[in-house]
């Protein structure tokens, strides 16, 4: 009802639009044509990452929760887009000067002045980023989080958590004023999503059956390695849009190096993650190779425009180590149950990405130079950014999950969890024409 009223008001409101047709913009800047084409196409690719997350996440979890995971991944994009349209974009990039260091204001519902081709181009690219941040959480809370609660989390991430931090780094806020940088969002998107995921996984507790009485973790294998791997490929594909589109213009030729760096970091991290498991357990691990690739992509995202290809390989190698080590740490030491490794992949490597940028930026592009090239101030700003990022996302995540836990609840009933969320939350099974089996796990 309230929504209907708002919509009617919006439809009736006098058009204060800036340049809704684009005629003025293109006249003033003929290059805008290529800029728009570039940013939009890259944005489409980023949107497609939603499919990648959905496939990766469902592939790495059990078949009895597959439909629930599909639903979460569809709905976080839906809710995310709507929340970012209504509120998120306005507090991230709104240009009304109130407390510009902390948050923007203006352009709610993309109405009024925001009804402008350039503003909406920016909205579109940012919206797919916001939805990415939201969807990361889905993996860490999989197989036990209540669906209704998850919708609220998604809305909060895209309306508040992401936009505010995003404002600080990309919207002219205090982190950017301090000189902190994040080219395509290792911190703004990935670490932020990863740390909220950490808060969620922590407060949810591990899945039933994940830990033995003595605290030894059980492996709970995913139900489809083929879909999981498809997810890895789709994410990698979409990531080119993520990183390369973050030039935001069509004539920044550095973009070829961004594409190469993106590839090399992912390739190196995947190879390293695979070789570690091979050395460790005697056999190369398929799931960890997939995690490794995404870890490398996350780690290069902040610095992709400012480092060399060789540095990218190094960043990827370290990402490969980090992801394997972090997954082990979560599982065996911290006893935080993260079904798909979202925290290790996005949180840990997102933070590493920010630091890596502060270390390896070589000064050949935009004058951004890291520690190794004399930029110690810049490195300090990056360290600070990592701390703020963690504090904000993890802290706010804890608060939100805690409040939700005490109110509507965050976790399904034990019997529902054992029966599977597909049945309990959606009254269906994902694969009704196949005979299932979960028997066979030793404990």
């Amino acid at each position: 009802m309230a929504l209907a009223a708002i919509l009617l008001a919006l439809l009736a409101s006098p058009a204060l639009a800036a340049d809704p047709s684009g005629d003025i913009t293109i006249e003033e800047n003929p290059n805008a044509a290529l800029d728009f084409a570039w940013v939009l196409i890259c944005g489409f690719l980023v949107m497609f990452m939603q499919a990648g997350f959905a496939m990766l996440e469902t592939g790495f979890t059990r078949s009895k929760n597959a439909a629930n995971i599909m639903m979460k991944n569809m709905m976080d994009f839906s809710i995310g887009a709507l929340a970012y349209w209504a509120v998120g974009f306005a507090v991230m990039y709104g240009t009304t000067e109130i407390i510009a260091e902390v948050m923007g204001w203006g352009g709610f519902f993309l109405a009024g002045e925001a009804y402008d081709v350039s503003t909406i181009e920016s909205w579109f690219f940012q919206m797919v980023f916001a939805a990415t941040a939201a969807t990361i959480v889905s993996g860490a809370v999989a197989e036990r989080c209540k669906f209704s609660t998850y919708l609220i989390i998604s809305a909060l991430i895209t309306a508040v958590i992401y936009p505010l931090y995003g404002h600080w780094v990309w919207g002219g806020g205090f982190l950017s004023e301090m000189g902190a940088l994040d080219f395509a969002g290792s911190g703004v998107v990935h670490a932020l999503g990863g740390w909220v995921a950490l808060a969620g996984a922590l407060l949810l507790g591990p899945r039933i059956g994940k830990y033995q009485r003595d605290g030894k973790p059980n492996a709970i294998p995913g139900h489809s390695i083929t879909l999981g791997t498809l997810g890895v490929f789709i994410l990698w594909f979409g990531w080119y849009g993520f990183n390369c589109g973050s030039t935001l213009v069509g004539d920044a030729l550095r973009v070829s190096i961004i594409a190469a760096n993106t590839t090399l970091a992912a390739a190196a991290a995947m190879a390293v993650a695979m070789f570690i498991t091979w050395a460790w357990h005697g056999k190369p691990d398929v799931g960890m190779a997939g995690n490794g690739a995404i870890a490398g992509l996350v780690a290069i995202t902040a610095g992709c425009a400012w480092v060399t290809p060789s540095a990218s390989v190094l960043i990827g190698i370290i990402a490969g180590f980090l992801v394997v080590f972090s997954v082990w740490l979560m599982d065996w030491k911290l006893h935080i149950d993260d079904p798909v490794g979202a925290i290790s992949v996005h949180g840990v490597n997102g933070a590493w990405g920010l630091l890596a940028l502060g270390i390896f930026a070589d000064g050949t592009y935009g004058g951004v130079a890291g520690l190794l090239h004399g930029g110690s101030d810049f490195f300090v700003a990056q360290v600070f950014s990592v701390v703020v990022n963690f504090t904000w996302a993890f802290g706010l995540g804890l608060i939100i999950f805690f409040i939700l836990k005490k109110t509507i609840g965050i976790r399904v009933e034990a019997t529902d969890e054992i029966a599977g969320l597909d049945l309990s939350e959606h009254g269906m099974t994902a694969y009704p024409n196949f005979i299932h089996s979960e028997t066979g796990r030793g404990d």
């Binding site: 054992i418 029966a419 009254g427 269906m428 005979i435 028997t439 404990d443």
Partner: protein, 112 residues
Amino acid sequence: MKEVKAIIRTTNFEAVKKALDEKGYVSMTVTEVKGRGKQKGITQQWRGAEYVVDMIPKTKIEMVVKDEEVKDVVDTICSVAKTGQIGDGKIFITAVEDAIRVRTGEHGEESL
């Protein structure tokens, strides 16, 4: 020798397995089946319509045990697999005339 054939809730299987294990009844063969009995099906939904699924996934355990073990096995299964709600399942006992271990060719009870 008897065959104890128990059809239980799939969600109880792990607990039953562990309970049998602890009593030393390790050997078993397990099949994923569907069944119905008193339990008249569960309601599911599909693209906005509800429908009843009357064949519900269950897990079937087949164990061939010595005659004197039957009671203990049955009791163990019942104690763990019982929730008291319709659908807990059934156990059937049949006589087995002989058993052979493929690996050694042994016959009879020692092959179990």
